[in-house]
């Protein structure tokens, strides 16, 4: 049962069927790498399982998974940025040739531009345009104020359009 107490295997499988695909997709948009997105999604599911006594409600599982996964992804991204600064290797070079080969040109440009944005702007854009969250929900998911969300979204949109336009002119 997925009630109070332990999360049994069939309940975990049911939650997986409902939430795994949107979670991996959101993480893939944010991180730009499928394997990385799956690793983070897996860790989020494990944390949900270990915290099930506190959650205890399948309706809250989606929100918990989204917040946990996004926080994990942002932490890992920040660590990677720090190590990249030391190693001076390019970040966001995740898009595989297989991935980009079957993308439409417009989509590929948007994806490439998205991965160049600062992580907060990127997270806000993914939560708004992919997860369809309201400003309030984005603020709650990211643990920031609604005004900050609006600012990040505004700057993110401008940067995204600028980057896509630059690609068009190149």
């Amino acid at each position: 049962m997925a009630g109070a107490g332990r999360l049994e295997d069939d309940a975990l499988a049911a939650l997986y069927r409902t939430h795994a695909a949107p979670l991996v997709r959101m993480l893939w948009l944010f991180l730009g790498d499928r394997a990385w997105a799956e690793d983070v999604a897996q860790e989020a599911f494990v944390r949900m399982h270990m915290s099930w006594r506190k959650i205890a409600d399948p309706d809250r599982a989606g929100g918990y998974l989204r917040v946990t996964a996004l926080n994990l992804a942002r932490t890992q991204l920040r660590r990677l940025e720090v190590s990249r600064r030391h190693a001076e290797t390019p970040l966001n070079d995740h898009a595989s040739a297989e991935d980009t080969a079957i993308e439409r040109a417009d989509d590929a440009r948007v994806r490439a531009a998205l991965l160049q944005l600062p992580e907060r702007q990127r997270a806000c854009l993914v939560l708004q345009f992919f997860a369809d969250l309201s400003y309030d929900d984005i603020a709650a998911t990211m643990g920031i104020s609604v005004n900050s969300v609006k600012t990040h979204l505004q700057r993110g949109r401008e940067s995204l359009r600028e980057l896509i336009g630059r690609d068009d002119n190149a």
Binding site: D9, L12, A13, Y16, A20, A21, V24, R25, M26, W28, L29, R34, A37, E38, A41, Q42, E43, F45, V46, H49, M50, D99, I102, E103, R104, D106, D107, V110, R111, L125, V126, F129, F130, R157, L160, R161, I164
Partner: protein, 98 residues
């Protein structure tokens, strides 16, 4: 690019990605490992507490068995003084009763 177009592009991009079929099994394995880790941590805490409590009981028993019962001494002014002598440290502790 308008917001509606951005929305469509994000959806189109994400729709191409599906979790690998092995992900659920990987999650089950990771959950099992995390559960075992939690059980080991809980057992370690319980064993630690038991060791601490046993040690505390043994120390108390030792101290009690090596502490004399107080000697009551009546002072010339009439007050009664209880004197405890520890056979461990040979220190005496005085307590006065009115």
């Amino acid at each position: 690019m308008r917001d509606a177009e951005l929305h469509d592009v994000f959806e189109r991009l994400a729709d191409r990605v599906d979790p690998s079929p092995a992900l659920l099994d990987d999650i089950r394995v990771a959950v099992g490992r995390a559960e075992r880790g939690r059980r080991i941590r809980v057992a370690a805490v319980i064993v630690g507490l038991l060791v601490l409590m046993t040690a505390a009981v043994l120390v108390l028993a030792y101290v009690r068995s090596n502490t004399s019962t107080p000697d009551a001494v009546r002072r010339p002014n009439g007050t009664i003084v209880h004197i405890w002598t520890s056979s461990i440290s040979n220190r005496t502790t005085e307590g006065t009763t009115p």
